[in-house]
């Protein structure tokens, strides 16, 4: 079974453009993931691409990522994830950490 690619686009209500050029966090350990944020003018949208070996959890991915975007209101970024069977809790945590650190870095 080949690796799968999932693509999502979200439109936050009160867009907060991603503050730095790019930012990378995480290690693709078992049950973990890495994430790359890249600034890109998407007119207030945010694109997320997930690369994962997991089958059958596309809807869960969508819900977890949708919640992340609603909480952070991040916009104008391309976000890519290399996943290795991370649970939704781990995904949420890693995304929040990466976002916080990027905003801290921009200050």
């Amino acid at each position: 079974m080949a690796l799968r690619e999932l693509n999502f686009t979200f439109t936050p209500d009160e867009p907060r453009p991603f503050p730095v050029g790019w930012s990378h966090r995480g290690v693709v350990g078992s049950g973990d993931m890495e994430v790359m944020f890249e600034q890109r003018d998407l007119g207030g949208d945010v694109q997320i691409k997930v690369c994962t070996p997991v089958v059958g959890f596309d809807e869960v991915w969508e819900r977890v990522l949708d919640r992340f975007v609603r909480e952070s209101q991040v916009s104008d970024a391309v976000i890519e994830i290399n996943d290795n069977n991370a649970t939704p809790v781990v995904v949420s945590m890693r995304m929040r950490q990466a976002m916080e650190e990027a905003r801290k870095e921009a200050e």
Partner: protein, 316 residues
């Protein structure tokens, strides 16, 4: 506490490959090359449905120690056990190629300062060797890295750091042995065939890989230090590894290469004499060997802190 002080105080054992790469050179000098943003992930893993990482489990880059440009290779054990695939290996080779180019350039532009600007390649090992998913490419990568090490002889040092969770095993154990200097912490493990593999092939009576104490007595930093497979034993922090590297780089090249285990007729004789000794002695346990080389109270050695151990250790 500043970010840098925090990083230097961090356990080498638990640090990620990227943290190690940053922390073993001088503050703020590390620049990653072929990093995640370049997205050089394995072309072989996706078809097998295996997760990929943009750095392919290998952080490469360059930093400074004093005036010495230090080319860093740092392996990430959490990604497929730090195993070496095609891209991972190519990045290792790339670091060597850049180091050689740097050496040639310094020799040309600063011939009078070659000694104080001498480059180095530093490898922070955390690996079991070949990545079986891309076995041929992984094996080839090992051969290429060996080749690169030979190319550095007579020019600049290659230094191994071993103190991470996975240890340094398989083909990369050979690679480490072929470098000029090996620095370990007592949590570091170095060997060829890993403990699980020995048990699988030879049975639990031969080697019980679940016996942590046995594994460390046989492959751990203290044992390797007594046997002079490891040249230096340091505390388990990024700062201690950094300081040891700085101390090594202060020595002249001719002195640094005295640390080698292989590479001359005299060293071959020495290794053969050791092999003979092991047949004669037929040790049942690493403790027998420690006692043979004059260590008292060998039962206590595994319990000692690094400082206590260094104060009393008798080496081969």
């Amino acid at each position: 506490m500043s970010d840098w002080k925090e990083l230097e105080a961090k356990s080498f054992y638990g640090a990620s490959a990227r943290e190690r790469a940053r922390g073993i050179v001088d503050e703020g000098t590390f620049t990653e090359l072929a990093g995640p943003a370049d997205r050089m992930s394995s072309p072989h893993l996706p078809v097998l449905g295996e997760a990929v990482e943009w750095d392919d489990g290998c952080v490469t880059g360059v930093g400074l120690i004093g005036k010495h440009p230090v080319f860093v290779i740092s392996q990430e054990g959490r990604f497929i056990g730090g195993a070496v695939g095609e891209v991972h290996g190519a990045k290792m080779v790339g670091a060597f190629v850049l180091a050689r180019q740097m050496y040639d350039r310094i020799k040309e532009e600063h011939p009078d300062e070659l000694a104080e600007r001498l480059p180095a390649v530093v490898i922070s090992f955390e690996t079991g060797g070949v990545r079986l998913h891309e076995a041929n490419a992984g094996l080839l990568a090992h051969a290429e890295v060996m080749d690169q090490i030979q190319e550095t002889k007579g020019k600049f040092p290659v230094i191994s750091l071993i103190g991470s969770k996975v240890g340094c095993f398989g083909g990369m154990g050979f690679v480490a042995a072929a470098t000029d200097v090996i620095v370990m912490s007592d949590l570091g493990r170095l060997g060829l065939t890993g403990p699980e593999v020995i048990e699988q092939e030879m049975g639990k009576d031969e080697f019980d890989s679940a016996d942590r104490s046995l594994v460390y007595r046989t492959t751990g930093g203290k044992h390797k230090y007594i046997m002079r497979d490891a040249n230096y034993l340091v505390e388990d922090t990024l700062g201690d590894f950094h300081d040891q590297l700085a101390a090594i780089m202060e020595a002249p090249y001719d002195e640094i290469v005295q640390c080698r285990r292989i590479g001359s007729e005299a060293l071959v004789d020495e290794q053969l004499a050791l092999a003979e000794l092991s047949v004669e002695m037929a040790p049942k346990d690493a403790r027998d060997v420690w006692a043979y080389f004059g260590n008292e109270d060998v039962e206590q050695i595994p319990e000692m802190t690094t400082a206590e151990f260094l104060a009393v250790a008798q080496r081969r």
